[in-house]
Symmetry: C2
Subunit: 335 residues, 2 copies
């Protein structure tokens, strides 16, 4: 029931996903009469899709922790309970981000060995896209968390984005080893010495959009700054361009060509078109879809969940983290 276009976009998104994937079962959580009204006009396999009615709803502006504690019959709390009890493998929602983060930690729970669950996000680049991790879940981070984010992000990029040997870079304010905050300097040594990822060193924020790395590791504060500035600067540029060319509408034979070029590049920089943000390191996948998600984005998010389940990404994450811990222990037996 979350997002600006509920229940239509989520219901339509689920129906498209069911058409695309045969081994999928979906439970729709939310206001049952409303959902059934939308479903009525569609044909679908009733064995693959059920509706679970919820009597409460967590609003966008609600304080997350209190909402999760008190609204036991909301779609977010009930959906996450399904994950916790093993009755679902993944949960997709376009609802309250904070409630999803809190619910993920408190209800679903972290995988064994995971210190913190990071939120990933896809950023457009000149060469395609990259995974920014963490972009909003854990402020005031520790080096060991970032080390795990690198492993988790690498496993995700390899299996979901199908990138062989993803290049992992750590965000810093310079390329030299001695630069930056104590957090990034400590994380750098850990990544260099103990991780199994393909670590390419520091990346400056200005180089991310050129596509120089596949997984961009950072703390949630910096990650959120990067994600929102990406959106903010590109939107401002395209708004300014729009105003400038408005006056020339329809003039000249090449005007549609230029407008198309500008529209195409602006679409590349529309962060919301790249599918939902995965909350990783939990006992099940939670995907935060954008508030303004279309049926297409919901469908893409669900397809992402299928690959996550089929390729046993959580099992791979656990293996990577266990190996990393062993490497750390070998060199520092007293840890």
């Amino acid at each position: 029931m979350g997002g600006d276009y509920a229940p239509y976009a989520p219901v339509e998104g689920c129906l498209s996903a069911l058409r695309k994937s045969c081994c999928l079962e979906i439970a729709l959580l939310g206001n049952e009469p409303l959902i059934r009204t939308v479903l009525e006009s569609s044909s679908y396999d009733r064995k693959s899709l059920k509706v679970i009615g919820c009597s409460e709803a967590i609003e966008t502006s609600e304080p997350p922790a209190a909402a999760i504690r008190t609204k036991k019959d909301s779609s977010i709390v009930r959906g996450m309970k399904l994950l916790k009890d093993g009755d679902a493998d993944a949960f997709v929602s376009a609802g309250n981000t904070g409630a999803l983060l809190v619910g993920g930690q408190v209800i679903v729970g972290r995988l064994k060995g995971v210190e913190r669950a990071p939120l990933g996000a896809f950023l457009p680049t000149e060469k395609g896209m990259c995974l920014l991790i963490d972009c909003g879940a854990n402020v005031d981070a520790r080096p060991s968390w970032l080390l795990q984010f690198a492993e988790i992000g690498s496993a995700y990029a390899e299996n979901i984005l199908k990138i062989k040997k993803p290049r992992v870079a750590l965000v810093n304010i310079g390329a030299e080893e001695e630069k930056g905050s104590s957090l990034v300097r400590k994380t750098y040594s850990l990544l260099k010495d103990f991780s199994s990822v393909h670590f390419t060193g520091f990346v400056e924020s200005g180089d991310i959009s050129s596509g120089c790395a596949d997984v961009i590791v950072t703390d949630a504060f910096t990650g959120n700054i990067i994600l929102k500035e990406y959106e903010g600067v590109s939107k401002t540029i395209f708004r300014m361009l729009g105003k400038k060319i408005e006056s020339c509408s329809g003039v000249g034979s090449s005007s549609s060509f230029y407008k198309n070029a500008i529209r195409q590049v602006s679409e590349v920089f529309d962060v919301s078109s790249y599918g939902g943000a995965p909350l990783l390191g939990l006992k099940g996948l939670v995907i935060k879809a954008h508030g303004n998600s279309s049926a297409q984005e919901i469908c893409n998010s669900i397809i992402q969940c299928c690959s996550f389940h089929k390729d046993e990404v959580n099992l791979r994450i656990c293996r990577r983290l266990a190996e990393e811990e062993e490497a750390l222990r070998k060199l520092h037996p007293d840890l």
Copy 2:
């Protein structure tokens, strides 16, 4: 002698500044024969311009602290000594940023009461520009430093940018008081309770480019991320646009109109065109001009120094900080 176009751009910039301002005296530091060769072809008032020959040069890639310690006869070390000894009011350089930061702290020294000297930078916005402070000098910052940066930035914006009652905002990853890292939450309370600035609350990185505040306060790590991403994302967008429209060169009557529109907006987002970055809170103004500074940028930086001196900005900064300290003491006598 710093920057890509030395000695031509710095010398030409000084000569333009001298033509624009009558109460200005300039000392050019660097390779004397080279500087004199450039000067030879120009007419200027010899009383307002002298050359101080330096036998050493700090290169761009040199480790800053060692360079400042060992290269006593470099233009940076000698220029900063002039400030320290009261023989100059301001120092402009397009050289090694790290060396300027270290030299500012070690040679020039901080104003009384200043805990850390922040580096400011001008960012283009939809409505003009804003001052981002700190954008590179002090990583691992403390709340009391950021409180001072707000006062220092406000004084600068008021006197140099001539903005009455500049709106000061603190960078965070959400607008609500309880959001963000412990650093920003603590700084928020300090700014709300003890500062004399016109504090408008938190600003998210995505809203900076819309022009919602005049002074953007943050720690050097986050500030540098913001500054470089601003440049990176806008450059990528205009490069992609350039590639897309290349194929249509010269076709249609409106093509030059569109190309102009794109060029104009791209110029707005060219961070390097907004003049040098002031290193503030020192016993004299240090301006770091861009490595690729043109004569125009050098000239603008020097004119900025004139206003700084004329309007006694350092005196104003000292007064603000003293008032703020008194406010803090009144409420916390044990501090």
